[in-house]
């Protein structure tokens, strides 16, 4: 099976998002693989291990510094990585457009059997790229899956909805965005890290041909205005809460 995984880089959650003279300052931020993409990659690798002769190819649009993150992804079981370097900021639609061209250029006429993405990127939490990409590629798709059963004939997945679960059925080729809970990503071993050094990371150019759909007009620090009032005991708390608003 041909499996594509789309990976993006996000600030490490431990890094501090700073503002310098009112502007966002990401210079001290450490980039890591989007946590949801780890679940996407793990699922791809598990399927590869089940279906002999499968190939997992990683697609990433990011500055060339993302190589390090891709090395880790290769150590987790990817076979080859394609890094499309761009410094231009793109919105989700442009990202989806670039990914769709990257995927069709790489696979040619025949689409990959499976494409995996993360549910959302943890920095902007757009949750837009995956299904836009599916729509552009003309693939059947489901977002935020928590369970996947693949056979040669087709695929069964489950996704969470408010207060319940939906079970869906679809065919190849298919694209999924994955939710936490689908699997537990493996830890990389020294051996896997060594092997990953031999796997190819191709740096490829990419052009931005779509115009943007959404622009960011400002990013401001979020100032919490809350003042915390320490209450003495549960009695006082209930008194305050029941006086406040029509909560109960």
């Amino acid at each position: 099976m041909h499996i594509a995984v789309c990976l993006c880089q996000v600030p490490d959650t431990a890094s501090v998002i700073d503002f310098f003279e009112g502007a966002l300052d990401l210079s001290r931020v450490n980039g890591v693989m989007n946590p949801f993409d780890e679940y996407a990659l793990e699922e791809a690798v598990r399927i590869k291990e089940r279906f002999e002769g499968s190939q997992v190819t990683l697609f990433c649009i990011a500055p060339s510094s993302a190589k390090e993150m891709l090395r880790k992804a290769l150590a987790m079981g990817g076979d080859r990585a394609l890094l499309f370097s761009t410094t231009e900021p793109a919105d989700t639609f442009q990202t989806a457009g670039m990914l769709s061209r990257a995927i069709t250029d790489y696979y040619g006429e025949v689409l990959p059997d499976l494409v995996f993405c993360g549910k959302h990127s943890t920095d902007f939490q757009s949750a837009q790229v995956p299904l836009m990409l599916a729509e552009l590629l003309g693939m059947e798709s489901v977002s935020a899956i928590i369970k996947l059963e693949a056979s040669r004939a087709g695929i069964h997945v489950e996704r969470e909805i408010e207060g319940g679960i939906e079970s869906l059925e679809l065919h190849y080729p298919a694209l999924f965005s994955v939710e936490k809970g689908l699997n537990v990503p493996r830890k990389t071993t020294i051996k896997a890290v060594m092997e990953a050094r031999k796997k190819p990371i191709d740096l490829l150019p990419v052009t931005l041909s779509e115009s943007s759909c959404v622009t960011i007009t400002s990013i401001k620090p979020f100032v919490r205005e809350k003042k915390c009032r320490v209450v003495q005991d549960p009695k006082e708390l209930v008194l305050l809460l029941t006086h406040a608003e029509a909560l109960f």
Binding site: M132, A134, C213, I219, K226, K235, E245, L247
Partner: protein, 330 residues
């Protein structure tokens, strides 16, 4: 001129409250923008009696009440929305921010060549600077970004407003319901296909609860019994921090945070939760936040309105007792 179309989502024949709230908000926006009109599209069999008097304002609610729309089908739904957008010449499509709209909206944005703004707070500033801007927290809640659409057609998935309880518009006007003709394409079997939908009996989803009683690692596995009791008493839902879910004490559906759900309840009660940035990222729009923690320096207190410092295992039984007393007297 602006024409708004509001997508009304039903599950098991009941229109979601979040959808009704979105409709009310669209009505408020229309009132601020003279010449704007609001229509709605209700997809799937559902009782419209529920809508009676609840969503106020003017406009037509188009109801596609075919059986084929009972369960979500991405392709059938996409086609129907595209058709209806054309029919009412809509420029703006509003969804409540739900699992369904997160799945449907990106497809529609490509199909309609529309700007997509997900998870946004659509507030009164929406109409400023050429219109359509909205805000959303980014970088785990460390920053707030404003997004502006560039395309003539716009799609929003709107987050709930916790602090303000939206009141129905009392203009005296009433929306009318038009039942749509069955569409010819729904007989076609289109994939992906939802085969089943299984709802958890008697469990309220954290993403929709007005009151959330959340617990962290400090609760211990057994301590969640207390939280369940309190949630039941207040008609709320139980939520959890990530370690609690990773330990297997609670299901993933209850996780709140960057890798869990984003919530906006009117009351958020955080019990033995330290308040890591990844957790706080998801409760930024909560109304009143109460924190109970034995560590007076826990970061959760920085975002709380009320603090109870002490052991949850001692304080929670008392709190339950006090609430029970209050509710009995009322």
């Amino acid at each position: 001129m602006n024409t708004f179309l509001v997508f009304l989502e039903q599950r098991e024949g009941v229109v979601k409250k979040s959808s009704i709230d979105t409709w009310n908000r669209a009505q408020e926006l229309a009132a601020l923008h003279p010449g704007a009109a609001v229509s709605a599209l209700l997809v799937g069999p559902a009782s419209t009696r529920q809508l009676d008097g609840c969503p106020g304002g003017n406009g037509v609610i188009y109801h596609a009440n075919e059986e084929a729309f009972r369960l979500y089908n991405p392709e059938h739904y996409t086609r129907l929305v595209v058709e209806t957008m054309k029919r009412v010449a809509a420029t703006t499509l509003f969804f409540a921010d739900t699992a369904l709209s997160r799945d449907l909206a990106p497809r529609l944005s490509v199909r309609l060549k529309a700007s997509l703004l997900t998870g946004c707070a659509v507030d009164d500033a929406w109409g400023e600077n050429g219109g359509g801007c909205c805000q959303r927290p980014v970088y785990s809640g460390a920053a707030i970004a404003s997004f502006a659409p560039c395309r003539p057609l716009k799609i929003y998935t709107c987050t709930p407003r916790a602090s303000r309880i939206s009141s129905p518009i009392t203009s005296g006007a009433r929306a009318s319901v038009v039942v749509l003709e069955p569409s010819s394409s729904t007989s076609e079997e289109l994939f992906p296909l939802v085969r089943r939908m299984a709802m958890h009996e008697g469990v309220r989803d954290v993403a929709e609860a007005r009151i959330i009683v959340a617990g962290g690692r400090g609760m211990g596995r057994a301590g969640f019994g207390l939280l369940e009791a309190l949630a039941r008493l207040l008609g709320g839902a139980v939520g959890a921090s990530r370690p609690v879910v990773d330990e297997g004490w609670r299901p993933h559906a209850e996780q709140i945070g960057q890798t869990g759900k984003t919530v906006a309840p009117a009351l958020y009660l955080a019990c033995a939760i330290s308040g890591a940035p990844q957790h706080l990222a998801a409760i930024g729009s909560a109304g009143i936040v109460v924190a109970i923690n034995c560590d007076p320096h826990a970061p959760i207190f920085d975002v709380a309105d009320y603090a109870l410092v002490g052991d949850v295992h001692l304080l929670l039984p008392k709190l339950i007792e006090e609430f029970r007393e209050f509710l009995k007297k009322r």
